[in-house]
Symmetry: C2
Subunit: 340 residues, 2 copies
Amino acid sequence: MPRATISQVAELAGVSTATVSRALSDSRRVSATTRQRVQDAAQKLGYSGNSIASALRRNRTDTVGMVVPSITNPFFTSLVENVEHVLQEQGRQLFLCDSRQDAEVEARHLRSLLARQVDGIIISPCHDRHSGAAVQAAAKRIPLVQLDRQVSGTSTDWVGVDDHEAMRLLMEHLDERGARSAAFVTSTMTNSSTQLRLIGFRTQAQRLGIHTREEWIQLGDYSVAWGRAAGRRIMDDTPRPDAIVCADDLIAIGVLRACRDRSVAVPDDVQVTGYDDIDFADFVHPGLTTVRQPRERIAAEAVRLLAATAEWGGTAAHTALAPTLVIRGSTAQRARTGGV
Amino acid sequence: MPRATISQVAELAGVSTATVSRALSDSRRVSATTRQRVQDAAQKLGYSGNSIASALRRNRTDTVGMVVPSITNPFFTSLVENVEHVLQEQGRQLFLCDSRQDAEVEARHLRSLLARQVDGIIISPCHDRHSGAAVQAAAKRIPLVQLDRQVSGTSTDWVGVDDHEAMRLLMEHLDERGARSAAFVTSTMTNSSTQLRLIGFRTQAQRLGIHTREEWIQLGDYSVAWGRAAGRRIMDDTPRPDAIVCADDLIAIGVLRACRDRSVAVPDDVQVTGYDDIDFADFVHPGLTTVRQPRERIAAEAVRLLAATAEWGGTAAHTALAPTLVIRGSTAQRARTGGV
DNA sequence: GTGAAAGCGCTAACAC
DNA sequence: GTGTTAGCGCTTTCAC
């Protein structure tokens, strides 16, 4: 069934297409009676507007594109959910793309979003170097803000969490809990925030006099499976550290699983920490001590920055939000001697 | 920076816009030299095409819309991922919307997708009745296939898993494992597949002589939190069943957690089953026995049906795919007496 | 093999 | 308040 067009509505209502357009978008004053007639006609024809035509004419789509490295990672999903919510309140739509950790797929998505005339792009680039060209090219054309991760050497807006501060919170907490040595399980160093977390870990370990060793720095990917494998490796091949710090919650959940595989008690034999505070962190056993990213805030800032870029142009803003430490069972205090 | 248009490319290349269009989409034969000149010009100008204008003219967008009840539910995320993958291979894009379990939000998304001229819609409706009008209206205009859940009384394409068969597999398995009584934790009955699973549970329980009782049928939502609450309630308020059957894996993971809260051993004291086989089902402890939905297949079928509807029109197809039972620790055989 | 020209459905000047 | 008109950037007959 061919869709009704604005001119059919105009004809049925006995007015011009311009009036229909005005009546339906109430941009300019239209008499109450005309408006009613137009609305009735539109209703009768099941008219629903053609935003393609509208977009072409107005040169805007009220749509923003979002590109994430993996839609199955709960952290990103949650970011997407929050961004979508903010946009929806503004009557705008989200075009979501999954780069599958592949810079080429990512570049293709970016080109496609550009061709589709989205009003802005929110992206968490999958690679700190390979993503560079495409991100820059897109940023040159339309407002673009990077989320969580950022491409090295770009000058676009960015919003994320303060990774350094997060590692400080985590490491000081472990220090207080008596950890004198720590391992670090993470993804390969292909993006900025992964790098910052490792640097943070090293810096803080040194500062606090927490011992570490190269075999304890395990590089894989952000997944439960990798966390499990790395956890086993650490426990099988090396002296056991007091704590295993993980670069995200998925990895940490895998490590927790490895501890169970090896009958190592958490937190008594080894303490474990995550990063992100995904929902599952509270449901595993023991509950996962982690650092919470203020996701609603990150989403809101990202959308705000998009608008700001559209308005102000070039000057980029880097917004690092403060994380908060969430303490759960995986680093719980040992039972006090003489306690109940 | 204003985007380059096709006429600028034409001018630079010294040809007409028609030729540029042909050269860039190689629809009709263009001489090799002209094509090269056009490509060079496009390159130099950073021309990237305007798919809005193209869509208006061609009356198609190479875009399909997808609406899911919750983007944070791993089952749907995985479906989305698979659909996106299939579409990408066809050079098409996905417009993803999250209805947040709200029929009004869903209807708004549907209208918006229609206005944006998507070529088709894939939807898992959030409510079996409230979603009806909007889904029907959309289906009247463009190809639409329902996924997993379906609105009652609609005649659109549908693809999902055979819920009845799934419950049969699950219940027979529990029966073999010696369960003589079972509880069922699920969401409120607001959608078709939730209903079918409950009916399946009741039917199979009766057939196999597995005892159940009304207080053991717990209605909440699809979340870990609800599973945990319901699990506790069952264990605190009623005689404990031999098995707790859950309508999805999230709920089951919550129930597992409740068992730990109450120091009830799984599977020795109570057996637990899930539904969907999300990735986490393999990572909780004990591993979750569940039924696997063939998600890649579901995604592929959905996209195929979309094309078929576009080609064949009215005749709807209902495709129920066979689930497979995945047996893990949560229903493990009790250690055989005298075993190793 | 290439160009001229029409027009997809809408909105925004500009008249009245 | 409402109509007329001129495109937005592209694709596609239809000529040549």
